[in-house]
């Protein structure tokens, strides 16, 4: 646009060119050259005020839950494992879909939900102002710096110290192929430092329902299974690596239980034969193919196919 052109056109050029409201992109050729972005620590304390908590409860129970339950068919097991526990705890889950945090928050009993926060990647959920506000409000989220500079851990530590339970995905990011990845040790460190129990959760079927790259669930009300396991308490002298291994095994056993039965899974676990949740060996396409297979439906099929 030349001199004297419409200012509105210029605003459009800037808004479109710089992706206002969306995540700014770095040209591929400049990726190695880009100055490390230092996402500012978006303030989230307001999201834990009584007003925001009331708004969140309304959004989750009146908005998100009906929406997710309409578009998918979640099944929830093991909530009884929370009995006898008190805040704060760490909920650790495998992570394959954007549905995961919503599913956990909407399936937790209210007593748990209202004092549970979510660690969310600063570079993804807090990169634009509107995403930051929405994420903080709906998920009671706080930014986690994935670059390893440690500011996220500091926030999480403070939240636990303040009595908030946290949802953490120890894989650090959504699985690219639907299978479970290595757990990072940050969650275990937190649990040991703060002496809080860890509640493992296995989510199956979320990848098939809404994998990476989709912003809305696939049609067909695909089933998703959420299985809460018994809490793990950090043992005396246990280091973060050992606790991370226990967390991983616990989630793997929940997967096995979901695929078969609790009894069979227990036997395999006692023999050390729990199938790995890391998925089959083979090329990426094969792993994605397997993970993309929807869970079998239980109960009568709907009369009308969608």
């Amino acid at each position: 646009m030349g001199r004297g052109g419409s200012f509105l056109d210029e605003v459009r050029t800037v808004a479109g060119g710089f992706r206002w409201g969306r995540r700014p992109l770095v040209p591929a050729a400049a990726e190695g050259q880009a100055e490390p972005r230092r996402p500012g620590q978006f303030p989230t304390a307001w999201a834990r005020t009584p007003l925001a908590r009331a708004a969140r409860e309304a959004i989750l129970t009146l908005g998100m839950r009906p929406l997710v339950w309409t578009e998918t068919a979640p099944r929830v097991y093991g909530l009884e494992n929370l009995e006898g526990l008190e805040h704060p705890v760490l909920f650790v889950s495998n992570h394959t879909s954007h549905l995961d945090a919503t599913l956990i928050l909407t399936t937790l009993p209210r007593r748990w939900r209202e004092r549970t926060a979510t660690g969310a990647a600063a570079d993804y959920f807090f990169d634009t102002w509107w995403k930051s506000i929405a994420t903080a409000l709906v998920y009671n989220a706080f930014p986690i710096d994935r670059s390893g500079r440690g500011r996220g851990t500091a926030s999480a530590r403070q939240m636990l110290a303040d009595g908030w339970s946290l949802i953490v995905f120890p894989e650090g990011t959504r699985s690219p192929d639907g299978w479970m990845q290595r757990f990072r040790t940050g969650a275990a460190r937190l649990a040991i430092e703060q002496r809080v129990p860890v509640v493992p959760i296995a989510i199956r079927g979320a990848f098939a329902a809404m994998p990476r790259g989709r912003a809305w669930p696939r049609p067909g009300r695909l089933p998703i299974s959420l299985r809460y396991g018994p809490p793990l308490f950090p043992r005396e002298g246990e280091d973060h690596r050992e606790l991370t291994r226990r967390m991983y095994r616990a989630v793997a056993e929940l997967f096995d239980e979901d695929r078969s039965t609790w009894w069979e899974a227990q036997h395999r676990a006692s023999r050390g034969e729990t199938p790995s949740p890391a998925g089959p060996a083979g090329p990426r396409w094969l792993r994605v193919w397997e993970a993309y297979r929807p869970l079998p439906r239980r109960g009568p099929r709907p009369a009308w196919r969608r």
Partner: protein
Amino acid sequence: MTRPGFVLEVDERTPPLLVHEGEGFRLQRFPLGTRVVYPPDPLPGIRDLRGAIEQALLHPLGSEPLPELLRPGMRLTIAFDDISLPLPPMRTPDIRQRVIEAVLGVAARRGVEDVKLIVANSLHRRMTPREIERTVGERVFRSFFPRDLTNHDAEDPEALVEVGRTEKGEVVEINRRAAESDLLVYVNINLVAMDGGHKSVPVGLASYRSLRHHHNVETMLHSKSYMDPRPEASAIHASCMRMGKVLRDAGIRIFTIETTLNNETFPREFGFLNKREWEWSLADQAMYLAAKKANDAAPARLRREVFRRIEAPYGVTGINAGDTDLVHARTLENLHRQQLVEVQGQSDVLVVGLPYICPYNVNSIMNPILVHCLGLGYFFNLYRGKPLVRPGGVMILFHPVPWEFHQVHHPSYVDFFEEVLAETTDPATIESKYEERYATDPWYVHLYRRSYAYHGVHPFYMWYWGAHALDHLGDVIFVGGDPKACARMGYRAATTFRDALEMASDRVGRDPSITYFHCPPLALAEVR
């Protein structure tokens, strides 16, 4: 650590890129695959400038320390670069002021009384007292101006002396006071690799008789790269070196002090001009929109005034003193550290956005001939090795090319544009037919000496600077240029970049390779 310069390839993720266009700027989308040459990030400036200057003066390269060269009763002359450097002008205190104050401090302690300061303005316009004061600082100005702090006068026969001739018969005529001093200290700002070295004294303090030996079409055409000052690469530098040798052989003692600056070209308010676009924050984008809107809406005079007032917050990256050759080698290292970007191969089309300023329109107007000089003389030549664009390729420049002249500063430009270019644009014809007449015209000489006019021959030199590019390029297109002014210079004007590419297609086809030279801040392309 400072990030090096690099070459971006435009992809779908690339935002529109900033392009300068005279006293304005725009965001422009480039075709996918366009290469964009970005300069390195600014190097850190020297924090202890006073210490660095003292270190340079006390431990010079290939010379005795400055205090040992100074003694009572001697004649000391300090010459310094004029207003054409740096661009934009440096935020005060200018580095020349700091260096000159340090030199004068040593001279005072050593009991030197006969000191003169000369602006090495060559055939440029004289600097006004206010401009001189801004450059050397109030302390020096008040102590020496006007008697002992003057502009060089290249048309005063009394103030010039022929020192000798080179082995190729080139006349070496420079300022008499400088030549007859016991010590000549030259203080420069080396903004680009073309400046400095032996181009300082034999050019800055010379006369037309001397300059005509290298500021001519043949020399320009035989220079492979003006930014590579080796004799085998640049005929103009080879000539200057021969002249430097004549000065040395004649016993003229020159103590060269060269300084280099980093790439902090624009002040914080215009910080987005210094940044790579995908790193613009929301504040940068808002600043761009506000500046763009204000700039477009402002009357031309106000717009010019705002741009004139821009002062660069440069950091100083090097101060070296001593023997001219040794110092200049160190200076070039510093410059390359700040400006060099490696580029693989030439392209069919070279795109540049010309900024509002060039060496010859500081506090003045960028007339069409200066646009030609800036685009084809300087930006085209910001390379080492070979040009960014292939022989027969097309250069697309963004600039409004207004048909406008500063009547005080550029009187001979007006006539050159109206009379000479109306007849021919061929540099060789222009040189043979008109140069002598303009160079010796008494009215232009009078205006150069008594007013603030560039010398009568100066527009010719501006035209010659573009001779190499004119010889190399197949076509030159100005986006947004005044069609009449462009046509007068033999160029074509396009309304939009898309039109320009369409117009270029008859030379380079429908799918040309394109390089956008993202400048300023200054970069020097090392084309392999």
